[in-house]
């Protein structure tokens, strides 16, 4: 049977390309009548450019990227929608063995606790300031990335000014471990498996995880060229259903070994399959031991693929916080409208699966896993707390930003 629709998708070699890879490789796309072609890319800029000129219909994207595109912050910005998230969590912060030694001397323990490792890092930064040493250099993958914002969030909440006290540079994730080993950077925030890569090469230590800085936090989305989405609503809906089924498959522990094998293939992430197991199992290696972070990466549970408008607005608040755009009602509206839960709901309705009752929530309010009202089936959300206990109310962004000013 020939496919009803052909879709070309760009992706970067990362764990959270899993939903796209599985949708193709395990037949979920074909079952929806899709011929899904996946094209590996080498930079987020290429993903953005190829989506803009129509080489790609959809792409694996950093969650803040479609917002940045629509806000006009990207050089080549086509209107882009985010009708689905591609999972929660999946990132970590890794530092060089030398910096880890300095942090342990300041009391850091191998427990991934962002409060304590943040205090130790702050002490190291302060000591280096007194000694007039070069500022520490951290890398993230893109200025408009969850990595940049969660690293800055952690640093700022730990009393470190990300712009004055340290330097933040941009590097592609597959080059992070080698840059750390060569001493060109002191640490980085990246998606898996590129933290495990540094641990495996014995050049770095994971000091905390995205899932501990902000539990159940957003990371990648399916970015969709608005022009294509408007012209191909049926193809898009079929793709969202295929990705939802792929997410269910990825979420089942029994499939993790096969998922690791698939992702490790030369056409995808091209690395040892073992590198995916820490993130998939939630058992994160720290020196001689292992710390269990059960929600390190969530491909499906806890509405992990739902495009919450409050996630879009949190990213917008960070974009404002770090001076990349000004706060105003129009920009807020653009950010809010970039995420398209309406498209998600319409596409998934025929599946009869659990859907959240609302399109936005107060972020950081759930201290424990909480059953929520949903259409049809049961759904559990959270915990979704920030490590510093702050709450983000998407209806009061200005109040939230005043709070971060006072703290930072």
């Amino acid at each position: 049977m020939s496919a009803d629709f052909q879709i070309r998708a760009g992706f970067m070699p990362l764990l959270d390309s899993a939903l796209l890879v599985v949708a193709r490789e395990m037949g979920f796309a074909a079952r929806e009548g899709l011929e899904l072609t996946l094209v590996r890319e080498i930079s987020w800029a290429n993903i953005r450019d190829r989506l803009a000129v129509g080489h790609f219909d959809v792409a694996h994207m950093l969650a803040p990227m479609p917002i940045a595109c629509n806000l006009g912050l990207s050089p080549l910005a086509a209107r882009t929608w985010a009708p689905m998230a591609l999972g929660l969590g999946g990132n970590a912060v890794t530092v060089s063995t030398a910096l880890w030694s300095a942090m342990t001397a300041e009391g850091a323990l191998p427990d991934l606790d962002p409060t304590m490792t943040g205090i130790a890092l702050k002490a190291v930064v302060a000591r280096r300031g007194v000694q007039a040493a070069e500022p520490l250099r951290f890398a993230v993958v893109h200025p408009h990335s969850g990595h940049n914002y969660e690293l800055r969030y952690w640093l700022a909440a730990s009393g470190i000014d990300p712009d004055r006290d340290i330097e933040i540079v941009i590097l592609p994730p597959p080059l992070m471990a080698d840059a750390l080993g060569a001493g060109r950077i002191d640490g980085y925030c990246a998606g898996e498996p590129w933290n495990t890569a540094a641990v495996d090469k014995q050049v770095g230590r994971i000091v905390t995880a995205k899932a501990m800085i902000w539990k159940s936090s957003p990371e990648k989305v399916l970015g969709v060229a608005a022009r294509w989405a408007d012209a191909n609503p049926e193809a898009l809906a079929a793709l969202l259903r295929a990705l939802y089924r792929a997410a269910e498959w990825c979420g089942a522990a029994d499939n993790h070994a096969e998922l690791a094998r698939l992702l490790a293939g030369p056409g995808y992430v091209d690395c040892p399959p073992d590198w995916f197991m820490p993130a998939l199992s939630g058992r994160i290696p720290v020196g001689d031991g292992v710390v269990h972070v059960p929600d390190f990466f969530l491909p499906q549970a806890k509405a992990a693929t739902f495009p919450w408008k409050s996630h879009a607005l949190w990213f917008y608040a960070q974009i404002v916080r770090w001076g990349q755009v000004t706060l105003n009602a129009q920009n807020e509206l653009i950010a809010r409208e970039t995420y398209r839960p309406d498209l998600y709901r319409a596409a998934l309705k025929p599946l009869g699966v659990a859907l959240p009752g609302a399109n936005a929530k107060i972020e950081g309010a759930l201290m424990r896993a909480t059953p929520v009202g949903s259409a049809g089936a049961s759904l559990v959300l959270g915990p979704d707390g920030f490590f510093d206990g702050r709450i983000f109310d998407p209806d009061h962004i200005d109040d939230y930003l005043r709070g971060t000013d006072a703290a930072g």
């Binding site: 800029a45 893109h142 540079v169």
Partner: protein
């Protein structure tokens, strides 16, 4: 007349970079700098003060470079991607060819467009050259394989070179396969049966 433009070409592929450079010089641009490795690029940009930067899209450091163009103290004037919004075809042609151009703030598009067009055509010419080279390389490999298979047949069955080739061709036609595939199978099989035979 406007001052000569300073053009920086960032390309890890030295041959392609040279081809671009030659094209720019032919077009009368004298101030062309080639950079193959992005290590220390901020300092280079501060020295060169480029008006136009040409980058290949296979460069894994494009995100880093774009960020630096916007933020770095090394860049005195902001640098933005060259996008002539009135000319969608040209943007597509650039992405298709695998090249991107960045220009400093305030540069007139009439001055930049010919540079981008030249880069696009040279990138495409380079890609065609690579494809042809790849084809030639493949053909050479095939010819070597066929020579080895002929040698095996001549030795093991006492055939002349002509007869050995005829046998390979006939087998290929009967099996609807390429001669080089038959030759590959024969060389592999001979190696398995007698590790000394094909050494």
């Amino acid at each position: 007349m406007a001052a000569a433009l300073s053009i920086l070409v960032i390309d890890e592929n030295r041959i392609r970079a040279s081809i671009i450079e030659a094209g720019l010089r032919d077009a009368g641009h004298e101030r062309v700098t080639l950079v193959y490795d992005v290590a220390g690029i901020a300092r280079r940009i501060a020295e060169i003060e480029p008006d136009v930067i040409v980058i290949d899209l296979e460069n894994p450091n494009r995100d880093m470079l774009e960020n630096m163009f916007q933020l770095s103290r090394a860049v005195k004037r902001p640098i933005a991607m060259f996008v002539d919004r009135s000319d969608q075809a040209s943007i597509e042609a650039a992405v298709e060819a695998g090249v991107s151009a960045y220009v400093v703030d305030g540069m007139r598009k009439e001055r930049v467009k010919p540079i981008l067009d030249m880069a696009i055509s040279r990138f495409n010419a380079f890609a065609r050259m690579e494809q042809e080279l790849e084809k030639v390389r493949g053909e050479l490999e095939h010819r070597k394989l066929i020579d080895r298979a002929k040698g095996i047949l001549m030795k093991s069955r006492g055939l002349s070179e002509e007869a050995a080739y005829a046998l390979l061709r006939k087998t290929a036609m009967n099996q609807n396969r390429k001669i080089s595939d038959i030759a590959q199978s024969l060389v592999t099989a001979a190696g398995l049966l007698d590790p000394g035979a094909d050494s």
